[in-house]
């Protein structure tokens, strides 16, 4: 992320809209300096940045609730709204952004009293082609969070006089979490933890799928299939029995035909049996014919109303001359195309004759309806004609069946009589043969009944098998789901294990790498031969290399160490962005370093060292300083790296305030001036560089 410019409006002591404060961009001149006396608004500028990005303020800002310029409130009429805003332009991964955060107050009865309104924040993004669009309101904080996570704000926007606070024990947790966030460790930790929760979900999915009864169902199906096999065997046995009994009956009847005394009776019986069979067939045929009549023509009697309505519609079409169609559409079209009517009159578009002929097109458009109507009317008339035949056919088949039943009944009576006569025959062998016939007839009837029952059982068994197969298919689908859930759970666990390993490697490498970088940078900033020591919770310490406990630190050393830490983090991010290889971490390789009064607590030697190296620590350095902090070593070290500079001209309401100014490139810029009223204010004035 690279800062481009900032503008303020009624923010703290900056009344109205300030000119655009542009930040240095050039690699060799990457330092922006803002000069200002104490109280002129240096800390307000730093907080304008932290507020616009994160809605947060540094510890150094007094009365953070008083954001809106007091004079602007005083000048407003009672009940009117006064707005303060900060607009920051920045660049991130090739896109330009415009961030604007604003807050309004309603002017109350007192000058300073006012009702605060909600803060508003908007973000617009401009792609490299120059096309700008607003980021959706709900996504603004998300987008900002991905550009520069709020937990990291104290790294990049900090109060130099309080920089050593980054090393305070109460800040340790914040530092640990922010560093972990910055290096990608936090992302890996979260990914691992979230995959653990996802694995639990897959486990419970497996538990739900686990109670499958596939084997039980298969066992049941096997039992039912065995029963089916048994029925098939029974069927074959019945067939064999039936054949055996029938053959035996035929043999007995053949013997009876040979006996002189009964052969006439047997001949009659043979004829009656044939007749019995013929009548039974005839009854069956009648039953089928009746079923056929009912299923194919049984709906006819219910169509009377529909037929009448249909015929009325067709008659209506006819009476209106729409049926049959007097002319076919292609014919009318051909007349129009030719431009001449059949009467010889010429047809010119828009002419009344043309329109009259054209009107036939609409009427001829009914030709498709005509075709269907004619076909349907023919069919309807046929059905109406044939309706009496249906009743006659049904009656005929019913009569025929009744007659066959009567005849059958008489034939059976005659057969029973012959049977009775033979049973009572004086000849023993005849009686015996008839007795065998009776017994075989009983057997045949029994087998036939058994066949009926077996067929019914077979139908039941087949239905049961079908049902079981359906259930098994469902369970198989469940089993497939179970296998899939297991594979997913496996991948989930494997992914977690791999991420944990990456995290372990990153932690081990990062800590060693970061400690080495901090030591190297610290060696540049400090004249002491101490080495930086980084604990697992990222607590920084200094070691004298003897292996003993960490040495105590002066304020200067602590500040140098903190800067080394930030420099090392940024350096790491720069290298990382160039070689990430899919490893999660910061998106950007550029980071700003915005410092308010960074050299206040340093002795000259530290100040000189730090100033010499600070432009290398970050891609962009913004420094807010007062004149005394700047002059001397700081000016000497940083002068050649400055790309942009500004002066905060403070207007004091105090009549006896000591006026002050700074000389830059031959021009004098006011640092403190008198104002003509009761309100303080600050103007931002750009220093015109290069004029001496």
């Amino acid at each position: 992320m690279r800062l481009l410019s900032m503008r303020l409006h009624n923010f703290r002591q900056f009344e109205g809209s300030t000119p655009k404060l542009e930040f240095a961009q050039h690699k060799q001149n990457n330092v922006t300096v803002v000069f200002g006396s104490n109280g002129a608004g240096k800390t307000a500028l730093l907080n304008a940045l932290t507020w616009s990005f994160f809605g947060k303020f540094t510890d150094a800002l007094a009365l953070p609730e008083q954001l809106v310029n007091r004079r602007a409130i005083a000048n407003a009429t009672k009940g009117s709204t006064v707005c303060a805003w900060v607009e920051v332009m920045f660049e991130h991964t090739g896109n330009n952004y415009r961030l604007k955060r604003s807050k309004s107050v309603v002017r109350g009865s007192e000058v300073t009293a006012g009702t605060s309104q909600e803060e508003e924040v908007t973000l617009d993004v401009g792609d490299p082609t120059g096309h700008w669009q607003a980021v959706k309101q709900n996504d603004v904080l998300d987008r900002l969070g991905t550009i520069l996570p709020s937990q990291l704000h104290s790294y990049f926007f900090f109060d130099g006089e309080r920089i050593e606070r980054l090393q305070r024990p109460d800040k340790r947790a914040e530092i640990t979490s922010a560093t972990a966030l910055f290096t990608g460790e936090e992302l890996l930790r979260r990914a691992s933890s979230h995959l653990g929760e996802a694995a639990k979900r897959f486990e419970s999915e497996l538990r739900i799928l686990g109670d499958v009864e596939q084997q039980k169902l298969i066992d049941r199906k096997q039992t039912v299939e065995e029963r089916k096999e048994q029925l098939h065997r029974q069927e074959a046995q019945n067939e064999a029995n039936l054949k055996g009994y029938t053959n035996a009956r035929d043999a007995v009847e053949a013997e009876l035909r040979k006996l002189e005394t009964v052969k006439a009776q047997q001949a009659i019986r043979d004829h009656l049996i044939n007749e019995q069979e013929r009548l039974r067939q005839s009854m069956a045929t009648s039953r089928l014919k009746l079923a056929d009549l009912v299923s194919n023509r049984g709906y006819w009697p219910f169509l009377g109303g529909g037929f009448n309505r249909f015929l009325a519609i067709v008659s209506g079409l006819e009476s209106r001359g729409e049926l049959p169609t007097p002319m076919k559409a292609p014919f009318v079209q051909s007349l129009l195309d030719k431009g001449e009517c059949i009467c010889g009159r010429s047809l010119v578009p828009d002419d009344s004759a043309y329109q009259q002929v054209e009107a036939w097109m609409h009427r001829s458009g009914l030709s498709s309806i005509e075709e269907v109507a004619i076909r349907m009317r023919t069919e309807v008339e046929r059905l109406q004609r044939e309706m009496p035949d249906l009743y006659a056919d049904i009656q005929y088949e019913k009569n025929h069946r009744e007659q066959a039943r009567d005849q059958l009944s008489r034939v059976e009576e005659k057969l029973a009589l012959i049977g009775a006569q033979l049973r009572g025959s004086p000849e023993a062998n005849v009686r015996e043969l008839q007795s065998r016939l009776d017994s075989l007839a009983g057997n045949i009837r029994e087998v036939q009944l058994q066949q009926l029952e077996d067929r019914r059982n077979l139908e039941t068994v087949n239905g049961e098998i079908e049902k079981l197969e359906d259930e098994i298919r469902k369970v198989e689908a469940k089993t497939a789901q179970q296998a899939l859930a297991m594979r997913r759970l496996g991948i989930c666990r494997e992914a977690r294990a791999v991420i944990e390993e990456v995290r372990r490697r990153l932690e081990a490498h990062f800590r060693t790498d970061l400690a080495a970088r901090i030591s190297r940078i610290f060696a540049l900033l400090s004249f002491k031969a101490y080495k930086a020591v980084l604990s697992p919770d990222y607590t920084l310490g200094l070691s004298d290399g003897t292996g003993g406990p960490p040495v105590g630190m002066s304020t200067g050393e602590s500040q140098a160490l903190s800067l080394s830490f930030i420099g090392a983090i940024i350096e790491n991010a720069r290298e990382f962005a160039a070689s990430r290889e899919g490893l999660p971490g910061p998106d950007s390789s550029a980071f700003p370093l915005v410092m308010d009064s960074p050299f206040g607590n340093l002795d000259p030697l530290y100040r000189q060292q730090i100033c010499r190296h600070i432009p290398e620590l970050a891609d962009q350095v913004v420094i807010f300083v007062n004149r005394s902090q700047w002059e001397g070593d700081v000016a000497h070290s940083l002068e050649t790296r400055i790309g942009k500079e500004y002066v905060l001209s403070y207007y004091s309401p105090k009549p006896d305030a000591q006026e002050d100014s700074i000389l830059r490139f031959g021009a004098t810029y006011s640092l403190v001036k008198h104002t003509g009223d009761d309100f303080e204010r600050t103007d931002i004035v750009e220093v015109v560089r290069g004029h001496r």
């Binding site: 904080l141 998300d142 900002l144 969070g145 991905t146 996570p149 709020s150 966030l181 936090e186 992302l187 979260r190 990914a191 979230h194 995959l195 929760e197 996802a198 979900r201 897959f202 899939l484 594979r487 997913r488 991948i491 989930c492 494997e494 992914a495 791999v498 991420i499 390993e501 990456v502 490697r505 990153l506 490498h509 990062f510 790498d513 790491n572 290298e575 990382f576 160039a578 070689s579 990430r580 290889e581 899919g582 490893l583 999660p584």
Partner: protein, 55 residues
């Protein structure tokens, strides 16, 4: 962190089989998008990623 070090750190991912690698890369992308949130709700999205990759 130089390229060699990053490669060494990422070896468990780069040497993982294709499905596993795709899952991890998508998990990283998802977590990156929600990194700014204190308590992101990503479990359903994670399940979707795994279900999409393992069919």
């Amino acid at each position: 962190m130089d390229r060699k070090a990053v490669r060494e750190i990422m070896k468990p991912v780069t040497e993982a089989d294709e499905v596993l690698r795709r899952v991890i890369e998508r998990v990283f992308q998802l977590e990156r998008e929600k990194l700014y949130q204190q308590k992101p709700r990503v479990i359903d999205d994670l399940l979707t990623i795994i279900k999409e990759e393992v069919r």
